[in-house]
Point group: C2
Chain length 232, copies 2
DNA sequence: ACCTGAACACCGTTCAAGT
DNA sequence: ACCTGAACACCGTTCAAGT
């Protein structure tokens, strides 16, 4: 039985809903067809194949991210407000953002925010490379924060728990530090503090970094943690 | 024909090699069996199933990350060296790190680095919550940077290219800024500058953030970018 | 122009059976 | 204790055929 009414938009909407709800893995062509009440093969006519369907969702996410408007007064606050807006936008659609990321469209997605940052950097008196540095540093900061933050939220019960990790002597006789690290961080506070410190540091001094790797990391050689075969 | 020599370690090694080379999607049970020269079902005896095989790889990655040793003199440099070491370690095994991330083991993976940061924060005179803030801010910074950095590297040709994006009037009559943003950033320099700014900002002042979302983001409502059905 | 079912080559997993 | 092939229920995709 022909349906004759299915549109590309309908397909994208239903696919986006599935991805938002269950992640990319929750989007199967057969499941999508069932949700739409069509045959699987109809979807192929509208969107090509699964890969280009996901590509289209990523494109739509880039467009959805829209324009950023700085708020507040003073460069630190206004620049911080862009970082906050970015964080919120990313957190509202984590799966879709991850797909944008995987497809290498991150730069384009951040363009509106970066345009706003350029204006604020100028207003703060930064020019040329210093301004570019601020734009990129703040963007990286916000994105990285969201990624780590999401991980914390999804994380199952950690073994060992943070209390154990930081309870003993690891904090070096600083009970307040131990308590602070044992408790789950206040994400809003930590983000605000990080952004503020970064922006103040960037606005304050000319950065004269001494690059290069000055620290080693020990590779323990791949010893397995758990052992013992599984029983049937 | 019985093989009688397959071990769990062998399975994990071969699986890790496949993931390093082709990512998690490149690891199929049948492909792994072929690489090992065994029947698919033998793998199940040793590692249970695909999911717990990936879990084991993530565990191994956490263990492999090993200990961090700060280098250099002065708090800014020593704290920065931890960030650099972290960045390097993460960049060496991006797929495996992503798997650790997906499984919520990120915190455990970062514990060695965070222990080192605690010591350096103390040496710099920070205590309690201020020290905890530095530990977390620096960790988030390094992780986030690597994630964004990798994205840039994998990104296909951007459309529009950065030259177009920043070439016109977007940079607000700052040709040096336009040039800086049009050129690909020097990742080592930008990372060093960001970490330095963050650490200096954290060491300098007590942070009194004004939290809350003070900026809106405009949602354009999900209009599609490309259109037109695919041909058979 | 748009929809359909049948068929193909994959995939992870289970199971009864070997030695 | 460890390995095996057969079988199951999935998956994305193609194709010839409908209207």
């Amino acid at each position: 039985m022909a349906r004759q009414t299915l549109s590309r938009e309908e397909v994208l909407d239903a696919a986006a809903a599935l991805v938002r709800a269950h992640g990319p893995d929750g989007l199967t062509m057969r499941g999508l067809a069932a949700a739409l009440g069509t045959a699987v093969t109809s979807i192929y006519w509208h969107v090509g194949n699964r890969e280009s369907l996901l590509d289209a969702l990523a494109e739509r996410t880039v467009a959805d991210l829209g324009a950023i408007r700085p708020r507040g007064e003073g460069p630190v606050e206004r620049i911080g407000s862009v970082a906050h807006a970015l964080r919120r936008a990313l957190r509202e659609r984590p799966h879709l953002v991850a797909m944008v990321h995987e497809r290498g469209l991150t730069e384009r997605m951040f363009l509106p925010a970066q345009r706003a940052l350029v204006r604020e950097a100028h207003a703060a008196g930064l020019r040329g490379e210093r301004a570019a540095e601020l734009v990129r540093a703040v963007t990286f900061q916000a994105v990285g924060y969201v990624l780590v933050e999401r991980n914390r939220e999804r994380a199952p019960v950690q073994s060992p728990a943070e209390e154990e990790l930081w309870g003993a002597g690891a904090a070096g006789a600083d009970p307040l530090l131990a308590r602070a690290l044992a408790a789950p961080p206040d994400p809003d506070r930590l983000f605000a503090a990080s952004v503020r410190a970064l922006v103040e540091g960037l606005l304050a001094g000319p950065s004269t970094p001494s690059p290069g790797d000055i620290t080693d990391i020990q590779d323990s050689g791949g010893g397995a943690v758990g052992r013992g075969p599984y029983s049937q």
